[in-house]
Amino acid sequence: VTRDAPELRPLAWGRIALGALFLLRTTPLLLPTHLPFTVGTFPLLGWPATGWQGAPLGIALPPVALAIACIVRTVAAIGFLLGVWTRGCGIVACAIGYLVMAQTPFGFNATLHLLFQGTLVLAIGDAGVLYALRGEPIRNPRSSQLLVRALLASVYFWAGFCKLRPDWLDGRTLALFHTEKAISGAFADLVLAAPWSQALVARVIVTTELSLPVLLFWRRTRAWAPLLALAMHASIELAAHPDLLGWEMAALLLCLWPPVPASPT
C-alpha cells in the first residue's frame, strides 16, 4: 500500500474537519457568536465547572486536575488536527474528553459522544498519513475507511431503530417539538404544517435512517449513499438548528469520498 491509496486523502479530510469541530466545540473560539452550544466553553469546556459536579462514574477530579485535563485535551485535539502524533493525540483527546464529560451528572450528550468516538476511530486508522505535519506510517487505509463506514452505519441504525415507536411514527413527537419551538423556522413551518405532513416527515426520517446502513455498505449504492445522508443532515440543520452533530456526521462522511463506483462484476 502506498501513499497514493485513494482512501488516504478522504481520511485526512475527515481528520481535519473533525479536529476543527473538536476545537470549535470545546474551546471559546465560537463564543462571540453566542450560539447555544458555546455556553460553558470559556476558558475551556468543562473548566471551570459551571454545572452540577459529581462523580457519576466514580472518578471525581479535583478542580486543578480538571483544569489540567481540559488543557491536555485541547493540546491533544490540536495535535490531532495538525497531524502531529495523530494516533496518540486522538486517543488522548477522546479519553480525556469522556473523563471531563463524566464529571457532570447528566453531562452526556450525543454531540460530544460522537465527537469523541469519531476522533478515536480516525486516530486508530490511517487518518494521520496525509496532510499531517508529522505523517504516520500507512497501515491499512481500506480497513480504516471500513471502520468509519461501520461507525456511521451504526449511528444511523440506532437513530432509526429508537424511533420505531408509535409516538414518533404518527408525528406526535415532531408536532411537540414544533409547538415548543425546538424545531422552527420557515422550512420547519412548511413541512410540519399539518398532522399528515408531520407523520410523513417522521416516517421519511426513520426510513432514511434505517436504509442508510444498508446503502452505505451495499456495493451498488454506497457511491451515492453519503450524498443522501448529507442531504438529510442539511434538512435537519435547516429545520432544527441542532448542535454540531450534523457537521460531525458530515466530517465523517467526507472519509467515504470520493464515492467508489460499483465494479462491473
Binding site: 486523502r9 452550544f37 415548543e180 419551538k181 425546538a182 422552527s184
Partner: protein
C-alpha cells in the same frame, strides 16, 4: 527585468498549484465554507431576532411587563450573578404583544399578591415564567409574609431561548 519575469513565473506556478490543491481538496473546502455560512446565518438570525430556535421565543413575563405594584414587579436580571434569588409576592403580567402564556394565565388569575390560604396551608408555588427571551424564572421557598404568599425567585439561563415559561429544548444535543 529577467528577475521580475522569473518572479511572475513563480507567482503563476504558486497560483496554479494553489488552484490544483483547491480542486483536489474540494469537498473539505466546500464543507468548511458551508459551515462558515451556516454559523454566520445563525448568528445574524440571533442578532436581528428573526431566528427560530436560536433566537428563542419571547413570551411570558418580560422584564418590561406590566405588573401590579412594586412588591410584585420582576426585578431586572443581574447578569453578573448566576442566580438572583429575591423575595417575590405574586405577579400579574403579560408580554408586550398582549399575549398571555400558560404561566401568565395561572398567575394572572389574581390581580395582585396572593393571599395565604385561610386554612394555614402552604402557598402554591406558581409555574415558572419567561423573564425575557433567554431567561426563565422559577419560584421556591413558598411562605407567608404579612398574610401574603411570598416566594424566592431564581433565574435560569436559557441558551436556546425561553418559551412558555421554560427553556427551549435543543433537539439534538
Amino acid at each position: 527585468m529577467g528577475g521580475s519575469q522569473e518572479s511572475g513565473h513563480d507567482g503563476g506556478r504558486v497560483g496554479a498549484k494553489a488552484k490544483r490543491g483547491l480542486r483536489a481538496n474540494g469537498p473539505v473546502v466546500f464543507l468548511g465554507a458551508l459551515f462558515v455560512v451556516s454559523v454566520s446565518t445563525r448568528c445574524s438570525s440571533r442578532l436581528d431576532g428573526s431566528g427560530s430556535t436560536d433566537a428563542g421565543a419571547s413570551s411570558g413575563a418580560s422584564s418590561g411587563a406590566s405588573t401590579s405594584g412594586a412588591s410584585t414587579s420582576i426585578p431586572p436580571i443581574d447578569e453578573d450573578s448566576g442566580s438572583d434569588a429575591g423575595l417575590f409576592l405574586g405577579v400579574v403580567s403579560s408580554d408586550a404583544s398582549g399575549e398571555t402564556d400558560a404561566a401568565d394565565a395561572a398567575l394572572a388569575s389574581d390581580s395582585g399578591p396572593v393571599s395565604c390560604p385561610a386554612d394555614g396551608g402552604a402557598c402554591d408555588i406558581p409555574p415558572s415564567i419567561c423573564r425575557d427571551s433567554n431567561h426563565a424564572a422559577y419560584f421556591t421557598n413558598p411562605r407567608c409574609v404579612d398574610g401574603l404568599c411570598a416566594f424566592d425567585m431564581q433565574t435560569l439561563d436559557c441558551p436556546s431561548g425561553c418559551n412558555n415559561g421554560g427553556c427551549i429544548l435543543n433537539v439534538t444535543k
